[in-house]
């Protein structure tokens, strides 16, 4: 392996510092890491996935299964990077992966010896095998398997780079910047369409770049590039992979904006995820060469013939001096000739007995030895091939004559080409097998938004490639309404070999008895051998989709790129069917791996999801509140004094409310304006209780059910005017209740003149609770708050200072309490006014934890009780339901399963001992064994300062009849058992004297 003195598309004036395993490689601008490795005579690039077999550079593109490396260091370290698509940059540091203690002495290679037990279905059999009842044993095995299998090691450091998402819209998306794609973009661009052309490489040209420098393609390429650059409606994205094709003409692209630099420049992003919405797309993704199957076809030094040619012509690297080319078609002949002219000693073994004369002439002219009717039976050499066993073969590829060993430091193979149909297949389209072209080809459906062209459509000549691309480009532009003149296609040129001619269907070389001469691989990336396909067949697998999953062939990054056709061909052979009868698997996104960072974009950390802040948020922050997340909201959890912890703070806060007065920000409550002449009728239908009699200035507690009869939400609704109601929902269910209401009003109840609108953002809300709340509020408002003027469940308009507010007299804590609704922009002002005036009344703010304690003492239900599986009766709210009117869920709530008297119902628990219970604990009879699901569960727990003990809300089977009973409270997670006494859930002030005072 060596770099040639001249040629290639590299810039020899720009040498780069590139290392692999600490070794400096001779690299230039324009190299890939793989071409630099080959130029630096690195044969061993890594160890394989399962058997830890030595592997080297195998290809020159995205299909690379062998040269997968660790790239970069520290927080930018990245595993499983394909050296073949990694653009060389100054300061590139790479190391080998999947090898311990070192690449050359890898202990995991023992798996290679153990391979008989690690064959197809190993994972399945181990999971469901003799140890299936022994979780512990399997967990031990799993730890070992996880360490031994797998590939690179990811960093645990935070990714320092920025990523970005962008949406784009175009008339024509052209996927692939080779001859077909360039022609398509040119045609569509001339016609006036908005065009996006994407190319995964850092240069346009596709297969043209693998022709020698100065070949006719170069002039063609520069002319087309120049014209494209002159078209303002054509946008070209280099280093960009279209990895996914989705419904509605949507495509996912990833643009590697700065992966070709050591680090992104200041402010620059690393990668950009494009979501492109295209009227039409042209699939000009080209073709990938297929390997041949023989023993040792994975050894370092065995490569794809087309890749060898790419390294020679594009990178000026001769990948071997003593080259054995194995082929079943004509394309390898030109490669053989070019290698020979570059100074290699070349032998060509052709599985075909009778290659065409023109091919033979090419070889002969270049001094290449051709062995017709010969195949490679076995590659020899552990960390690098040193020789090969070749054999004359019959028409099935079986040895037919005496074998012989020939020296070789490079075995290049060509098994024909496979169109890259992945994006097409992702759209649930099945490619058809073309027996003449010996490959799977997409079908052309005239109305489909993705149209194949070029070698992706098995175009065999350059005329066809250009014509197909150009025509698909025009059609796509016309489909979007572009009417401009497209002119003539760019004239074809004489190109190097890019497509199989005269291919033989033979793809493997076997011994005379049909067996292989050693391990022969179909999926190099996942270490799937040909024998694994045989085994799967023996075990009864016939479907290709099952075969894929059982053997793992074509899974992970390969996605069938190299493995697909050979695996299918073997399955067909075994089943005595043709390849089209066996069919092919469905490819799924992504075509090549995409970093999670690109998909996430900015939506991580504090932007993982949106955050909603109360209008009073900054007061809480400025005054030492500890905040907690409640759905998307941030809420004050508690306001610690000195070094109080949560427990001390909430007990103090809750006790303070019962003795003095407290204030809490309840702006997060869902608020819905219900407006219109039929508003009362609407409320009557969605709530279980009646609303027709509610007078203006009154409010009422209500509960609503889902259609299936379970409780959905509860809250208070006030009547503000003749046609105006103000509904409040729980913080968590606000969006659900609004969407449900809109659904009913726009579908089943179209006749109701009602509008529902969220006003959650319009109103800040403050609850003022405690015996002194009236006195405090009186000191700041003009309203008459006397017991007679504003009894419980009444509403009044008032002013606090010069701010117009609404005062709802209602209580969640069980104390004399008010909820004050304030236009959001004045929320903090009113809070501060109350806080200042409150100092004379010993006012303290309290948080959600104390609010929880207060409501549990009162036995009020909340989210942990209204959790979607509880009925009105379970919650002790059946008295609320009206029997005089239908409402949502009124029929289904009476289903037998929902009225079963044995259903757990809401009760209170007084927990014995000093520690409280944990929510989720299960309840058992005092003397029953703690096994199974028990007779109920604990939903909410708190320490009650009013009662001086730990209490809980819980659901207990037939609970109402069991007051006074002692039950066991078992927390299986914490392994803790407590005793508790069953009591009424109205722990405190059951008559409600305090709130009505």
């Amino acid at each position: 392996m060596r770099r040639l003195n001249a040629g290639g598309r590299i810039d020899r004036t720009k040498p780069l510092s590139v290392t692999f395993e600490g070794r400096a490689l001779p690299a230039y601008q324009g190299d890939t890491l793989a071409s630099a490795m080959l130029a630096g005579s690195v044969s061993l690039a890594g160890r394989s996935f399962k058997y830890h077999r030595p592997r080297g550079v195998f290809s020159a593109g995205v299909e690379e299964p062998g040269a997968l490396v660790h790239l970069r260091e520290g927080d930018r370290h990245e595993p499983n990077v394909r050296a073949t698509t990694t653009e060389a940059f100054d300061g590139l540091v790479s190391t080998a992966q999947n090898a311990w203690p070192s690449l050359t002495a890898d202990i995991g290679a023992m798996n290679n010896i153990l391979s008989p037990v690690l064959s197809a279905g190993f994972y399945y059999k181990t999971f469901i095998g003799p140890f299936r009842n022994s979780t512990r044993f399997w967990m031990m095995c799993e730890a070992f398997i996880r360490k031994a299998a797998g590939m690179g090691r990811a960093t645990t450091l935070e990714d320092p780079d920025r990523y970005e998402k962008r949406n784009a819209f175009c008339d024509v998306l052209v996927i692939g910047g080779g001859a077909a794609g360039l022609s398509a973009a040119l045609a569509a661009g001339r016609a006036g369409a908005q065009v996006i052309l994407v190319e995964q490489d850092f240069e346009l040209g596709g297969a043209i770049l693998s022709d020698p420098v100065g070949a006719p393609g170069d002039a063609w390429l520069s002319r087309v590039k120049e014209e494209l650059a002159s078209l303002p409606n054509v946008r070209i994205l280099l280093r960009t992979t279209a990895f996914g094709a989705y419904d509605g003409g949507t495509y996912g692209l990833v643009e590697r904006v700065s992966d070709h630099l050591k680090t992104p420049q200041s402010g620059q992003i690393r990668q950009r995820y494009w979501l492109v919405h295209a009227g039409r797309a042209v699939l000009a993704t080209g073709a990938l060469e297929r390997p041949l199957v023989f023993a040792g076809n994975d050894r370092p030094g065995v490569m794809l013939a087309g890749a060898v040619r790419t390294y020679l012509n594009r990178f000026a690297v001769l990948a071997g001096q003593n080259v054995l080319l194995a082929t079943n078609n004509d394309t390898a002949y030109s490669t053989a000739a070019e290698l020979s002219r570059a100074g290699a000693f070349v032998t060509l073994a052709d599985l075909r007995a009778d290659p065409p004369d023109d091919a033979l002439a090419i070889a002969k002219d270049a001094g290449v030895t051709v062995l017709t009717g010969h195949g490679v039976l076995k590659a020899i050499g552990r960390k690098r091939v040193t020789s090969a066993v070749i054999t004359p073969v019959d028409e099935r590829g079986r040895a037919a004559g005496s074998t012989r060993k020939v020296p070789a430091d490079l075995i290049a193979m060509s098994g024909g080409w496979s169109p890259v149909v992945h994006l097409w297949s992702q759209l649930y389209r099945k490619p058809q097998y073309d027996a003449h072209a010996v490959c799977f080809v997409p079908c052309q459906e005239s109305e489909h938004h993705l149209q194949p062209a070029g070698t992706a459509f098995a175009a065999a000549t350059l005329d066809e490639v250009i014509a197909q691309g150009f025509n698909r480009g025009i059609e796509a532009a016309r489909a979007s309404g572009s009417t401009g003149e497209a002119g003539d296609p760019p004239p074809p040129f004489e190109a190097g070999p890019f497509w199989q001619k005269n291919q033989s269907p033979v793809w493997a070389t076997r011994k005379a008895d049909g067996s292989l001469a050693g391990k022969a691989f179909v999926d190099f990336q996942h270490d799937v051998q040909l024998s694994d396909i045989d085994q799967a067949h023996l075990e009864g697998y016939v479907s290709v989709e099952h075969l894929k999953r059982y053997t793992t062939t074509g899974m992970a990054t390969d996605q069938g790129k190299l493995s697909n056709v050979n695996a299918l061909a073997r399955m067909a052979e075994l089943r005595g069917l043709s390849i089209p009868d066996v069919g092919t698997t469905t490819f799924r996104p992504p075509y090549t791996p995409v970093s999670i960072g690109a998909i996430v974009g900015h939506e991580h950390g504090r932007h993982f999801r949106p955050t909603r802040l109360s209008p009073i948020h900054h007061w809480h922050m400025d005054n030492g509140a500890r905040m907690t997340e409640a759905g998307a909201w941030m809420r004050p959890w508690f306001y610690p004094q000195a070094d109080e912890d949560l427990q001390a703070a909430y007990i103090r806060e809750a006790a303070h409310v019962r003795q003095n007065v407290g204030m809490i920000d309840v702006s997060t409550l869902g608020k819905i304006a219900v407006q219109g002449p039929d508003a009362a009728e609407f409320l009557n239908r969605v709530y279980v209780n009646g609303w027709k009699t509610l007078a203006i200035g009154r409010l009422r507690y209500g509960a609503m059910l889902r259609e299936d009869g379970f409780v959905m939400d509860d809250g208070a609704t006030a009547r503000l005017g003749e046609w105006d109601y103000f509904m409040s929902t729980t913080t968590a269910n606000a969006a659900k209740v609004l969407a449900f209401s809109e659904h009913l009003l726009q579908t089943a109840w179209k006749d109701l003149k009602v509008h529902v609108t969220s006003v959650t953002d319009q109103w800040a809300a403050i609850a003022l609770a405690g015996p002194s709340s009236r006195a405090l509020l009186n000191s700041v408002t003009d309203a008459d708050l006397s017991r007679e003027a504003l009894p419980n469940n009444h509403v009044t308009r008032a002013h606090i200072g010069d701010v117009a507010v609404r005062v709802h007299r209602m209580s969640y804590s069980g104390e004399l309490a008010y909820e004050i609704y304030i236009p959001a922009g004045y929320g903090q002002h009113v809070w501060e006014t109350l806080h200042a005036a409150g100092q004379a009344h010993n006012l303290k703010p309290y948080g959600t934890e104390a609010m929880g304690a207060l409501r549990i003492e009162k036995g009020h239900v909340a989210g942990p009780e209204i959790e979607g599986r509880t009925t009105l009766k379970d919650l002790g709210l059946e008295g609320l339901a009206s029997s005089k009117k239908p409402f949502v869920g009124s029929v289904l709530r009476k289903r037998p399963v929902l009225t079963d008297p044995d259903r757990p119902t809401l009760i209170g628990l007084e927990i014995e001992g000093d520690g409280g219970a944990k929510p989720g604990s299960l309840l058992f009879q005092a003397k029953a064994e703690a096994k199974g699901h028990g007779e109920g569960w604990v939903s909410s727990t708190t320490y009650s300062p009013a009662l001086g003990k730990n209490i809980a809300l819980a659901f207990l089977k037939n609970g109402k009849a069991r007051l006074g009973e002692t039950v066991r409270v078992v927390n299986f997670v914490g392994g803790e058992t407590l005793s508790a006494r069953v009591v009424s859930h109205h722990f405190f002030d059951p008559e409600g004297e305090r709130q009505n005072g």
């Binding site: 402010g267 979501l275 909603r612 702006s667 407006q675 046609w723 319009q762 922009g825 009113v830």
Partner: protein, 190 residues
């Protein structure tokens, strides 16, 4: 007099962020003059007639196009709903046939402008915002970071984004994060 506290009060701090040089993006905020929802039923346009007249408007307008007068800007947000920015108190027009709702404190306007404003929008929403597709006077109701917003193209490179008040800070930060690579100027006054 009590002052209205903007939900963006902590965010509207003038300064230059991101790479030095000309800023591609300018961000500022604006308190709305007053925001009202007018909603009706089958005879919506008739029911809204007197309210519209008071605002200097003759029709409820069409979807996706804003109507602006000296004293109001109106967006037809649904078949039977109009959102109106106006300093006028429209509460008096509330009737059996026209539901008037004061939303003046429910939204804040984030003002996005600059040569890269459309690029920034294309990072946030999956809608074609090219000059040909999203013209002056047009508006969109869409989601930024899963939150419903209204984006009004006021001028070729000037956009107003009406955001829910309680999400204004979080939404501002999302815009800021996305805007940084373009270079960003924040103006405390619109």
């Amino acid at each position: 007099m009590a002052e209205v506290l903007s939900a963006l009060s902590k965010k509207l701090v003038s300064g230059h962020y991101g790479p030095a040089g000309d800023a591609g993006i300018r961000l500022s905020g604006r308190r709305l003059r007053g925001l009202w929802q007018l909603a009706g039923w089958a005879n919506f346009e008739t029911a809204a007639a007197s309210a519209l007249e008071a605002l200097g408007l003759s029709t409820i307008g069409t979807f996706q196009s804003a109507q602006a007068t000296q004293i109001a800007c109106a967006w037809r947000i649904a078949p039977d709903k109009l959102l109106v920015e106006s300093a006028h108190d429209l509460g008096a027009f509330n009737s059996q046939d026209l539901a008037v709702l004061n939303l003046s404190h429910a939204r804040e306007a984030i003002i996005l402008s600059g040569p890269a404003a459309r690029d920034l929008l294309s990072q946030l929403i999956a809608i074609d915002v090219s000059p040909a597709a999203f013209r002056r006077g047009a508006f969109l109701q869409t989601g930024i970071h899963h939150v419903g917003v209204l984006i009004h193209c006021v001028e070729e490179t000037d956009f107003e984004i009406l955001v829910p008040t309680t999400w204004a800070e979080s939404g501002w930060e999302v815009l800021l994060e996305n805007a940084l690579p373009f270079g960003l100027e924040v103006h405390s006054n619109a």
